[in-house]
């Protein structure tokens, strides 16, 4: 079955981004397809590679990047939510005259249309957040 996931909460906030990750991994290991993971609102904070948790803590951002690599996942950050929170890719940084970009490996920045598309093209859309 084809699932899409919406993540509305940042990492290390409550538990939603952990739950979303565990659910996504379980679905993939169960043989399901993940059409897209869409990060919205504070959820976009899951996609900055500047995240540096203490060494004895899980690295939520790297965990998403690694899962993306393993399963060729489409991880999408909402562009408007990302810009508000200072998360930019190379193109956006150039366009807005910022000195650097910070999107983590495996993530891409795109628009809200990608969430609508995910809703249309997936059998199930499930959201996690606060």
């Amino acid at each position: 079955m084809k699932f899409s996931i919406q993540v509305n909460e940042g990492p290390y906030t409550h538990q939603a981004s952990d739950t979303a990750y565990n659910f996504t991994r379980a679905a993939l290991e169960g043989g399901h397809e993940i059409y897209r993971v869409f990060f919205y609102h504070d959820g976009v904070n899951n996609g900055t590679r500047m995240t540096t948790p203490p060494q004895d803590d899980r690295n939520i951002v790297n965990r998403w990047s690694e899962l993306s690599k393993e399963y060729d996942l489409d991880l999408v950050l909402c562009v408007a939510a990302a810009q508000r929170r200072g998360i930019v890719d190379e193109d956006e940084a150039k366009r807005h005259g910022k000195s650097g970009d910070n999107v983590a490996e495996g993530f891409r920045i795109s628009g809200l249309g990608q969430l609508i598309d995910a809703g249309i093209n997936s059998d199930r859309l499930i959201s996690f957040g606060d």
């Binding site: 409550h14 939603a16 659910f23 379980a26 169960g30 399901h32 859309l125 499930i126």
Partner: protein
């Protein structure tokens, strides 16, 4: 097919579980996750409301119970404990998912 409702906050913190129980149609399922698992405990001021929800099947995410040190023996009778594979299966078995935030 029926709807799956997920609730991720404690009923002692916010009224999302209460609203869910009021709105969910008979034949639907409710899955308690994260701090929502506190709603599965028996003997609380809230448990009567969960027991009174007629026609709903209630599940609770086992790993989240364990994380909080909650004893499965103290759950309201009839609530089924599932793991993440069970969560995925529930999502597949219901045609719509309502996340109560």
């Amino acid at each position: 097919m029926a709807m799956l409702h997920t609730v991720n906050k404690s009923p002692f913190e916010i009224n999302s579980l209460e609203r869910c129980l009021q709105m969910a149609k008979s034949g639907s399922s409710v899955l308690l996750i994260e701090d929502g698992v506190y709603g599965a405990l028996d003997g609380t001021v809230f448990s009567a409301k969960v027991k009174a929800a007629d026609g709903l099947t209630t599940y609770v995410l086992g790993p989240d119970l364990k994380t909080r040190g909650l004893d499965p023996a103290k759950l309201i009778e009839g609530i089924e404990i599932i793991d993440y594979d069970g969560f995925v299966q529930l999502v597949a078995d219901h045609d719509r998912i309502q996340t109560w935030l």
